[in-house]
């Protein structure tokens, strides 16, 4: 058990340190690498919790897909250091307020949570006896949580359509016959 705890502190420390790196480093690519390290450590924490499926998904979706897109965009638009313009609201102050607000909100939610060891369906033994974690997550997702799941998918669909329409809108013109045409 002690190895578990040591590993937990190891990964938790790196996760927090690299998360701080994300917001303090100057170079955006360095920030992205930092964020990648954070995602990796979070995946490691999922493994320590015996949630292998979540760990793999964390790597596959967050580290593998989303971070690639983030880095892609950073390289494409070549973000420069943003100095505050005269007359602009100092964003740092706003960020501090929002950050403190979110911190206390999360602390409240976490402290109100249940810290007792996992029971019933959440134990590894139950999951192993009932066809494995992946199967159970799938079952719960498509029965009990079907409605939130569908809402999330509609939201993603809307975002996807928006992602296609918004950048091409300027090039999209209606001709006389009522048909849209890419110009």
């Amino acid at each position: 058990m002690t190895v578990h705890i040591l590993l937990f502190y190891f990964f938790a420390f790196i996760a927090v340190a690299s998360a701080i790196g994300v917001i303090t480093l100057r170079n955006t690519i360095h920030c992205a690498v930092s964020l990648l390290l954070t995602f990796f450590c979070v995946a490691a924490l999922f493994v320590l919790l015996e949630a292998e499926f979540l760990a793999a998904v964390q790597l596959y979706i967050y580290a593998g897909a989303i971070m690639v897109l983030v880095v892609f965009v950073i390289m494409l638009v070549n973000v420069r250091e943003d100095l505050p313009q005269p007359g602009q609201i100092p964003l740092n102050a706003v960020a501090v307020f929002v950050g403190i607000g979110i911190f206390f909100f999360l602390m409240f939610v976490i402290m109100a949570g249940d810290f007792s060891p996992p029971r019933g369906i959440y134990t590894a033994a139950y999951q192993a006896a009932n066809g494995g974690q992946t199967k159970l997550i799938g079952k719960v997702l498509y029965t009990e949580y079907l409605f939130p799941f569908e809402i999330a998918s509609v939201l993603l669909l809307v975002a996807m359509i928006g992602g296609i329409i918004l950048p091409t809108r300027r090039r999209f013109r209606r001709n006389g016959k009522g048909k849209g045409e890419m110009v």
Binding site: I29, H30, L36, G64, V68, V71, F72, L76
Partner: protein, 319 residues
């Protein structure tokens, strides 16, 4: 402790064997392509050029390591490591025999683990391209990022049919599920086709080798690398080829099952057959254009993979 020792031996053995295989993959590739193009290939170092690979490795080790003046030193250093480590990590759940006693870890989400981990290798490519501070490198990295993101969707979806039929994502379970029935290449022929195309694209091999297109980008993302750092990219590419070939052998060709010969030999035959197809493609096909590549990925492979999932689900539900 003995369990830990056994594990350590397995890890060292697997990695050594794979890296040796990689060295001779390069030789085999040059020989195969050479003969396909009616020339002998390497033939001067050792008998029939068999010592060509050790000679190349030696050359790469003693070569000077050049870092461009304006490169980001840290990123330039870390990129080759980030490329190779995920490729080697992905070897863990590959079952080389039937019982699975030769594999390092039987993870119950084996295939997902391999996909997730080997996906991280793309950061090596992107960071190499960006960190070198060179136009050609950056172009290669951008192409690579777009290509990987497009084809990993098709790659993942093409395997869903296999998961549905076997009811598991563990490499051992999938190969066991096929031993009683037909190999999944028959019922999952659509998935197999999509998997093969996407796998070639994911490993950046011809005809999808746009990230390192020699004729346009010199060598793409690794233009500014020399010596061992360059060798790391090479090792990563071939290790990835072995990994995707192993997934194909396990998920579509029944893993280690076969007649007469021992399971390990059958498994290796299947993996090497896939590697041969990789070489064959490289000798035969020209490179795709960038927009063609995107069109194949999004408008052809992904719909086909989705159709395969739907068909498999219908068959599983009603038959």
């Amino acid at each position: 402790m003995p369990a830990l020792l056994l594990l350590a031996i397995k890890v060292i053995l697997t990695v050594t064997v794979v890296l040796l295989t990689v060295a001779y993959c390069v030789y085999a590739e040059r020989k195969v392509i050479g003969h396909m193009q009616q020339r002998p290939g390497p033939q001067f170092v050792g008998w029939r050029g068999l010592l060509q690979s050790p000679a190349d490795v030696l050359k790469l080790i003693i070569k000077e390591d050049i870092v461009p003046t304006k490169a980001d030193k840290f990123i330039h250093f870390i990129a080759p490591v980030l490329c190779l480590v995920p490729a080697v990590l992905a070897l863990a759940p590959i079952p080389f025999n039937k019982s699975g006693s030769l594999l390092i870890a039987d993870i119950n989400i084996g295939v997902l683990y391999i996909l997730a981990v080997s996906e991280l290798g793309i950061f090596g490519i992107i960071l190499a391209g960006w960190g070198s501070n060179s136009k050609y490198s950056l172009m290669g990295a951008m192409r690579s990022a777009a290509q990987m993101v497009s084809y990993e969707v098709a790659l993942g979806l093409s395997l869903v049919g296999v998961f549905m039929m076997s009811g598991s994502m563990s490499m051992v379970e999938i190969s066991k599920a096929q031993s009683g029935s037909v190999w999944y290449i028959l019922p999952q022929f659509l998935g197999f086709f999509v998997y093969c195309v996407a796998a070639v694209a994911e490993t950046n091999r011809t005809p999808f080798d746009l990230p390192e297109a020699e004729t346009e980008l010199v060598a793409g993302f690794h233009v500014e690398y020399s010596g061992m750092k360059f060798a790391f990219f090479f090792l990563a590419e071939y290790t990835n080829m072995i990994v995707v070939s192993s997934i194909a052998a396990t998920c579509f060709l029944g893993g280690a099952s076969g007649w007469l010969l021992p399971p390990l030999v059958w498994y290796l035959i299947k993996v090497y057959a896939f590697l041969f197809i990789f070489f064959w493609l490289r000798a035969t096909f020209p490179r795709y254009r960038y927009d063609q590549l995107m069109e194949i990925g999004w408008k052809f492979l992904i719909p086909l993979a989705l159709a395969n999932v739907v068909i498999t689900a219908l068959i599983k539900a009603y038959i």
